[in-house]
């Protein structure tokens, strides 16, 4: 009702000022906004002037920004909206002059409203700005008024209003395990948080949604596919337990992948709902530093936005490394591509000896595919080598071929297709032999590189390890730049595990915003490798323990065991293996725990808590086992390696 003009200011747009061609939100834009606004102020009060608006988003945003900048109180409103009327009444009652723009009465009002949404994330009017600070809708204005914030803003001209100096309290670059945990925790303490997440497509064009590596191309799909393989084995075993079915059991890669991707999709969606509910702003955009306290966010259409924050958290993680040989990027896939591959990979060569390589090779073989693993030197570098070799042996006995001490030098395409046919030429590490092979798919799993080289760290002075790309941090995850922190796989010298990143992220947010002092404990972190024969570990490997404490101060207890469930179907005896490493000088404290067998992760979790409590061999011996389960072996370990006694089993 009524005209669009309120309280003494003409609000209708005037003719457009000439615009500079750059759309960047820097000096040129300021000049344009000012030009425009002088024109507006020079317009006659009360005279309706329509704008010759070009159809560009940036022009509308300039317009809106101009209104916000030039008015102490700016209300974006609608004549039909009762809340808009209420908000104006409120300011009138405070005797505060305001400027209001009635979007329903303005030409291009709908487009302005859309541009407003982009700027403010508010979907309805009224939207109120006080001293250029976005307060929000009627409820938020009422609340701010009751808390005296409006008065304060007006009195101090916005300078003392703390949040006004930066757009956000915290901007998190990377929406993976660490980034999401930290951002949600910070939001709990009322902080204004933004998360930027962006997936650069793989050379094959694969991309995925919010959640990071673990959810999309790591732990989650890996474990599900590992389970698919285990079920295949269970089906075979089931005949011995009396199940009768005639057909040969077949596996559909497409059915499995669709189900896995569907689940991942629900996780991506769940994270977005969760962020929205906690009022964490999320943008699907590539974040990089451009200057102190400032980042640039570029979305997949190339649109750039700039944001400032008091603190930053780098949680950008890693991506698979390529070999750097001809044909690698064109024809090979990585773990980034495998879990959403729309066709069965067929006969596969896995290059690498990491847990990624062995886990993938393991479940592919378990699904019935012809799998070969090409290894440059040792398996599972950094893990207990006795256990690593047992894993390799088990895989070999179950049909996985290994080509040891070779590296690929060239990959050629013989036939296109889904899958196609590839030729791999490889050279032995001593240089003497060349070998060739044909495969449908080549999966590279030769390591992962941190995403730290193209996010503008040099612009803000964050030091990284030039060789590895990793970021060194203090024990409080602070980089050399005090307002910039980092967590997760990008960190130098820390375990690359989801729960570690989550814990570090949560504790960091609590230290920053809830006044706690607890730091992340990176010692005795349990892990599990989900190879066909699973391996769980916590604490020292045997080699590292020997090196640190000396052979005479270490006692290693060990034994093979035969899971009861494996007896009836005549599955391997004397393959599952348990080992603990004890520190003789410290009451035979358990400093290393290793188990190779089914459900290794479930078994290891409980023992890792005991190790955190300072578990000793005597306490373990005093613990009565549960029968009949695999884990009970740990309560009856008696043979030591030192004694050389026989640890082979002959049954329960």
């Amino acid at each position: 009702m009524g005209s669009s003009v309120r309280k003494g200011k003409a609000v209708l747009p005037a003719e457009e000022a000439a615009r500079p061609s750059s759309p960047r939100r820097e000096q040129p834009q300021r000049a344009a906004a000012e030009d425009y606004h002088h024109a507006a102020q020079n317009a006659n009060n009360g005279q309706a002037i329509t704008a010759s608006c070009k159809n560009k988003d940036t022009d509308l945003q300039f317009k809106i920004q101009a209104y916000i900048d030039k008015n102490t109180v700016m209300i974006f409103s609608n004549t039909a909206c009762s809340l808009s009327a209420k908000v104006k009444e409120l300011f009138k009652s405070m005797s505060v002059p305001y400027c209001s723009l009635e979007l329903d009465k303005t030409e291009d009002g709908q487009k302005l409203q859309d541009a407003l949404y982009e700027l403010t994330m508010e979907t309805s009017v009224p939207i109120v700005f006080v001293q250029q600070k976005q307060i929000g809708d009627y409820d938020k204005i009422l609340k701010a008024h009751k808390e005296g914030k409006i008065q304060k803003l007006l009195e101090t001209k916005g300078h003392d209003y703390m949040q006004d100096s930066y757009d956000y309290d915290l901007i998190v670059i990377g929406g993976g395990s660490g980034g999401l945990a930290a951002s949600k925790e910070a939001a709990k303490y009322g902080k204004k948080v933004m998360v930027l997440d962006y997936v650069t497509p793989t050379p094959q064009g694969t991309r995925w949604g919010l959640g990071g590596t673990c959810v999309n191309v790591g732990c989650i799909p890996k474990k599900l596919m590992h389970q698919a393989a285990l079920l295949g084995q269970a089906l075979q075993d089931s005949r011995k337990f009396g199940w009768q079915f005639e057909e040969k059991v077949k596996h559909s890669w497409e059915t499995m992948t669709e189900a896995v991707q569907n689940y991942i999709g629900s996780l991506n969606w769940g994270y977005r709902v969760s962020l929205r509910e906690k009022e964490v702003t999320y943008e699907n955009a590539y974040g990089e530093f451009v200057g102190p306290h400032t980042i640039k966010a570029t979305n997949n259409k190339g649109k750039e936005k700039f944001y400032t924050a008091e603190k930053f958290l780098i949680a950008t993680g890693e991506r698979p490394r390529y070999l750097g040989v001809p044909g690698d990027k064109e024809y090979c896939i990585s773990s980034d591509d495998l879990f959403s591959l729309p066709y069965c990979p067929g006969k596969t060569l896995v290059v690498g000896a990491s847990y990624v390589a062995l886990e993938c090779a393991g479940f592919l073989a378990g699904l019935g595919l012809d799998v070969t693993v090409m290894v440059r030197s040792i398996l599972l570098r950094g893990f207990d080598q006795e256990m690593a070799n047992k894993i390799g042996e088990h895989m070999e006995e179950h049909g996985v071929k290994f080509i040891k001490q070779f590296v690929p030098t060239k990959i050629e395409q013989l036939e296109e297709g889904t899958p196609g046919k590839l030729k791999v030429i490889a050279q032995s590490t001593d240089g003497r032999e060349i070998t060739e092979g044909e495969y449908n798919t080549v999966l590279l799993a030769v390591g992962r590189d941190t995403c730290t080289r193209t996010i503008g760290l040099d612009k803000v002075g964050v030091k990284i390890n030039e060789r590895s790309g990793k970021i060194p941090v203090s024990d409080e995850e602070q980089t050399n730049v005090p307002y910039i922190y980092a967590i997760g796989d990008v960190l130098e010298g820390k375990l690359e595990l989801t729960p570690v990143a989550i814990q570090a992220g949560r504790l960091l947010a609590r230290r920053l915003y809830a006044g706690t002092t607890l730091k992340c404990d990176y010692v005795n972190v349990p892990t599990t490798v989900f190879t066909p024969l699973e391996y769980g570990a916590c604490g020292f490997s045997e080699e590292t323990a020997l090196e640190k404490f000396g052979e005479e101060n270490i006692e290693v207890y060990h034994s093979y065991f035969w899971p009861l469930e494996w007896t009836v179907p005549s599955r391997d005896n004397n393959k599952c293996y348990a080992k603990i490493i004890c520190n003789i000088q410290d009451n035979e404290r358990v400093i290393g725990f290793h188990v190779l067998g089914p459900n290794a992760g479930e078994v290891t979790q409980g023992f890792s808590a005991a190790i955190k409590c300072g578990l000793t061999k005597a306490q373990l011996d005093n613990t009565i086992g549960i029968h009949p389960v695999c884990a009970e072996i740990f309560t009856t370990l008696s043979e030591t390696k030192r004694s050389g006694g026989n640890v082979l089993q002959s049954g329960c």
Partner: protein, 122 residues
Amino acid sequence: MGWEEKAARSYGGFVQAAQQSRGRPVFALFCGDKDAQGRSWCPDCVTAEPVVRSELNSLPDGSVFIYCQVGDRAYWKDPNNEFRKNLKLTGVPTLLKYGTPQKLVEEECLNRELVHMLFTED
């Protein structure tokens, strides 16, 4: 082009409406049946419907919005009802984007920003 609304009652009715809309984005709101006065037995559904309707104008062009009444309270409580079995619905109101894992359940439907996100983002 805008969007189109279809009404459905029963699971079979919903499936038919969805099949008729093949090739277009389909969004569906599942609510408890309304009585003669037009009021659903499900209080959250009563609150959610206007919130969802207020966001319908942000639906992508060519979308179909199916308003589906799932049945009376007794039918809904039956753990084997067709909606639970076939669509895996766990509660009413449920607002979902058909053919994707994207959905909002119960209180989430009352949050206008979440509804907007479901309608407009991939």
